[in-house]
Subunit: 210 residues, 2 copies
């Protein structure tokens, strides 16, 4: 039973993509349902039928954002060494928050760091999802310690926190209009700090015989 009744007049994925951009630019509270439907090219009842409501749409938008716009994190985690994981993460983050074909910054922060009391769950949801990413990075760095890639005294949780703090700051900065090249400089400083604090082997040291 592929479909019964009148078929949808719009592409759900494409509409969700537009919603991502509106939420990204204007935040959850700053994006009205009218703003959303206009950008999505649909009417309000279609939005409610297809997505359930503004809050559900937002959660789906965040999920899609994590899937598509933060895909670089998966690639970064797959790097062989902790240094390369972090270097990839920081550098790809700079690119992601300064794409010209996307709003500046990061949906996870632009979506709303603070909310009215009614919408407090939204800010909490975003904060939790950010901290989830931090936990994943900490796990990856812990693996690096277990593998001997990072020294035993390195603190994966603290290091992951530092990296995530930098990426969040980058996103805030990008939303303020700071250029990609300027953010890249900051990423390199952060990377140097990570290397110093973690005792990570640099790529040169890893590939070149000591």
């Amino acid at each position: 039973m592929p479909q019964r009744g009148r078929p949808r007049g719009f592409d759900v994925d494409e509409a969700l993509e537009r919603a991502v951009e509106v939420f990204w630019r204007q935040g959850y509270e700053g994006a009205s349902v009218t703003d959303l439907t206009e950008a999505m090219g649909i009417n309000k009842p279609s939005l409610y039928a297809a997505f359930g409501g503004k809050e559900e749409l937002f959660r789906k938008a965040v999920a899609r954002y994590a899937e598509k716009d933060m895909g670089y994190a998966r690639d970064a985690f797959a790097q062989p060494t902790a240094y390369e994981v972090v270097a990839t993460l920081l550098r790809e983050n700079v690119i992601a928050v300064t794409r010209t074909d996307r709003p500046a910054g990061c949906l996870s922060i632009q979506g709303g760091t603070s909310c009215s009391t009614d919408n407090a769950p939204i800010a909490g949801f975003l904060a939790a999802s950010r901290l989830g990413g931090e936990g994943a990075l900490a796990d990856r760095l812990a693996r690096a310690v277990a593998e001997g890639d990072l020294p035993a005294h390195a603190d994966p949780v603290a290091l992951a926190r530092f990296i995530m703090i930098v990426t969040e700051g980058q996103a805030v900065h990008a939303a303020a209009g700071v250029s990609r090249e300027d953010l890249r400089q900051a990423a390199e400083i952060a990377l140097a700090g990570f290397a110093a604090a973690s005792g990570a082997r640099l790529p040169e040291q890893a590939t070149r015989p000591v």
Copy 2:
């Protein structure tokens, strides 16, 4: 002519203080005029008479916040060496964004990183004021280069940007509920990164004979 007509029934400064906290917790758009007047203990016409409107109140709240809650920045800039300037800034920022008698995070970010199109100027205003602080730090670090406190190859603008990115990330993290001690760890990693990237003399090196 000290006062003519009926005297004010509330303390303007105290009311502004309450407004700061509401904006800080809920953001500009998330804070309704009713939320504000209830916290300030006044009625709407009093708010409009005393402060001019919601947006003017917000700008005054931000000014007061910068004066009182970011006063540590002035102290930090007065430190004798670049290393101590940055160390004080990072450490005091951690304390400021995790005060138990204040909302978590920083008004300059919680106030709103994104807004509805109508309120776009608010996000721009906050972004500009943050970048203003970054410029002041860059100036202070440039002075350190001129004084020989930082090596000639150090880039004050890039370093200031990195530090501000970290403090912004700390504020986002604090708003997510991360503890003061956890943020302090991150601040020390950032400080190490600053020292490495700038070539700053550490306090020990500065006081101890080489």
